[in-house]
């Protein structure tokens, strides 16, 4: 073979093998965490690692309101050799029957059932110890589950008839794989909206770590529901770089949504811990005091205060992220939509331009997004007296945000009338767009919806009053 042929072959083969850097995805700490003094920063990292792990080693704990695609069942019979007979059924959309044969190695939790004893005073029964094993093999026909110990060694399962079995599925791992394939390049490994593509995008990709998502169907103060995130992934966000993933099957989108929620919870835990630590243990304290003094104080704090802070943060996560799934927390119009008509649109326009709502002060008198609020130069968030470089209001992620230009007819959160109803009723979380549900009736809001949907069709020269 000639030399040039060898070169060609080498290049061709390299293109198959690739340059394997063997890189492993890792979570990054936030900028706020990095302002803490080193022992405090280490404590935050270690709590996060204990509660969430790494992108390669996902940690699950019972109260975590994340769907791992678990299978559950009640033990029917315990045989002699570390096998139990238990009919398993999926407990969520991510736990599909085809996953059952793949469960080898999955964690098995055995929760002893002790009947419905309530302690005196009517308090909840004390938590019973949960034993952890690993699946060796599951036979769906005989419903026979063989387990080994958590360390992989053969072991005798200690359980009785009637105990509950829960097998941690691989739904979240599937979500993780899909996220690393489809989402990480914009949204980042830690969900901080700072992936490799992010610097080239405006608006920036969402930073999940505040637990804040703009386009939700839930009431103010409530997190986004799984449905809301599902819609965003499936439909995309028109007018931004977030594409529609309509071609992904539903179960894959659900898995991605679970992983996004998991990343968001991790980010929230980090910021809660940092808020509790930043007043007393930020690195600026070392300017005035010795490392030894601050360390001694931190060691005491870590023993006496930090465990409570971490455990109540965990409980809050559990409550906050389960609440959106409650239908009570979804904004549902009490009155049916007022049919769009010239009269309704005229009423809507009157409200839009009224002093009661002052929609025009941000969205402009013709809805072009050029109201007077976009002309003032404001202080940078968190820095009094330091002016921003460009005029406008800020969103909760520290970016200048422009009021929507209604003339374009592009609505990022969806263009169904109920979507626009929800934006007006509850505001848009993380932005200056306020909630009007307290001072506007449903009829008023529907009139505004009809007006807003009609703005793209109005002649641009139309007078504002």
């Amino acid at each position: 073979m000639k030399f040039s042929d060898t070169i060609v072959c080498a290049v061709a083969l390299l293109s198959i093998a690739g340059c394997s850097s063997n890189s492993v995805p890792q979570f990054e700490t936030s900028q706020d965490t990095e302002k803490l003094f080193q022992p405090a920063r280490d404590a935050v990292e270690s709590e996060l690692h204990a509660a969430f792990g790494t992108p390669d080693q996902l940690v699950v704990w019972p109260e975590l309101p994340v769907d791992f695609g678990n299978f559950g069942g009640s033990i029917e019979k315990v045989t002699t050799q570390g096998t139990v007979v238990v009919p398993l059924s999926g407990q969520s959309p991510l736990a599909t029957a085809d996953r059952l044969p793949e469960l080898s190695g999955a964690a098995v939790l055995v929760a002893p059932s002790g009947g419905d004893e309530t302690a005196e005073d009517g308090q909840a029964p004390a938590e019973k110890a949960v034993a952890v094993y690993r699946v060796a093999h599951y036979e769906p026909e005989s419903k026979s589950l063989h387990v080994v110990g958590d360390d992989g060694q053969p072991t005798q399962i200690s359980a009785t008839e009637g105990d509950g079995i829960q097998i941690i599925g691989d739904g979240l791992q599937k979500g993780r794989n899909l996220y690393l394939r489809h989402c990480v390049h914009c949204h980042g490994v830690s969900g901080d909206g700072d992936g490799p593509t992010a610097p080239y995008l405006k608006p920036r990709p969402r930073d999940y770590r505040k637990g804040l998502f703009k386009f939700t169907s839930t009431k103010p103060g409530i997190r986004a529901s799984r449905d809301d995130l599902f819609r965003i992934v499936k439909l995309g966000v028109p007018g931004t770089y977030m594409p529609s993933f309509m071609l992904l099957p539903d179960d894959e989108v659900s898995a991605i949504v679970e992983y996004v929620r998991w990343l968001s919870m991790r980010g929230e835990l980090e910021s809660k811990l940092v808020v509790q630590l930043s007043l007393d243990f930020s690195s600026t304290r070392l300017e005035d005091e010795s490392f030894a003094d601050v360390s001694a104080e931190f060691d005491e704090f870590r023993g006496s205060d930090l465990p409570d802070i971490v455990s109540s943060a965990g409980e809050e996560l559990s409550v906050d992220w389960s609440a959106p799934e409650d239908p009570e927390n979804v904004v549902t119009p009490k009155e049916e939509r007022v049919a769009s008509s010239e009269e309704s649109i005229a009423r809507g326009r009157k409200l839009f331009l009224s002093e009661k709502t002052k929609c025009y002060s941000c969205h402009g008198e013709t809805g072009a997004g050029n109201g007077t609020a976009t002309e003032t130069i404001n202080d940078l968030p968190g820095q009094p007296g330091v002016k921003a470089e460009e005029p406008g209001l800020f969103d909760s992620w520290g970016q200048i945000i422009k009021p929507r230009n209604l003339q374009r007819g592009l609505f990022r959160g969806g263009r169904r009338p109920v979507d626009i109803y929800r934006r007006i009723h509850s505001g848009i979380k993380g932005t200056p767009m306020q909630a009007f549900g307290n001072n506007l009736s449903d009829q008023d809001i529907w009139d505004l919806v009809n007006f807003v949907l009609n703005v793209p069709f109005e002649k641009k020269t139309q007078a504002s009053h």
Binding site: C9, A12, I16, S23, P25, A43, A50, G53, D56, L58, V59, W61, P62, G105, A107, V132, D150, D170, L172, R176, N177, L180, R181, L212, P220, G221, V275, L279, D280, R285, D299, E300, F301, R302, G303, D308, I309, V310, S311, G314, E355, K356, K358, S361, A373, T376, P384, G385, L393, S396, G427, K429, G430, P432, M433, A435, F436, G437, N438, N439
Partner: protein, 287 residues
Amino acid sequence: MTRFTFAVLLPGLALIALGCDLNKVDPGGGASSDSVVTVRSGSAASPAAGGDSAAGGGATTAAASGGAPGKLLGTIKFAGSPPVLPPKATQGNAKDPAVCAKDGDIPDESLLVGSDGGLQHVFIYLDKEPAGATAESFEIGVFDQKACIFTSHSFLALAGVEFEVRNSDAAAHNVHTFPQLGAVQNFGMEPNSSTTMSFNKAERAPIQIKCDIHPWMEGWALILDHPYMATTDENGNFELPELPGGSYNVRIWHERGAKNGQLERAKVTIDGETRLDREFPAGDFKL
């Protein structure tokens, strides 16, 4: 065939031969590792690694015994002559001029220093609820908006307790809170209206409240689980409710404090009526 065709075809054939399964869900982006799930029983709380668990239970401070109960009061001052801050809006030049800055400039309230140095709108509060203290909860004031200014630039509230919010202006405002631990609130208020609200969680330090329609409007609110908090008046004077005798940590916080607002965390010992007076130099502030 030409070398070029060869170079293009060979990888393709090799891929097919190696059975590159495009349906297999693999992590992309250079991540070559797979994932495992580990189980941790219980909640997120982990025993603090390497720390002493001696003290335990951090919600309340154990006040040292001895010392008569008494109030903590004092004066907070700004040392030296403060910079004069320009007004946020001058008379007749604000948005909604019929209502805002109608009768005068809108002052910048972020550094209000009295004639003898007293610093207004400083928050003084216990960082933890004192054990055994029996002060009755105080009455939360009304949070009002007048002439496009929040009437309480420094506001005190108890977590979970409702209070009245008013818009006494002929212009619409919105109340947009920026908590660090609790839930964000952002609702509009039409002219001459009133409603109630509450803050759902105690915070570690005062949080900001703004109006987005009139962006100069801002105030600060401290939300705690206990009533041992106060703000300084125009002379820099403050007074906390009566406390059992003992030793406490007291935070002194101002919106322009250079270290996340905290000017000092003082250790005070209450023995009868006790004074806490401070004078902070310009270097302690963001100016």
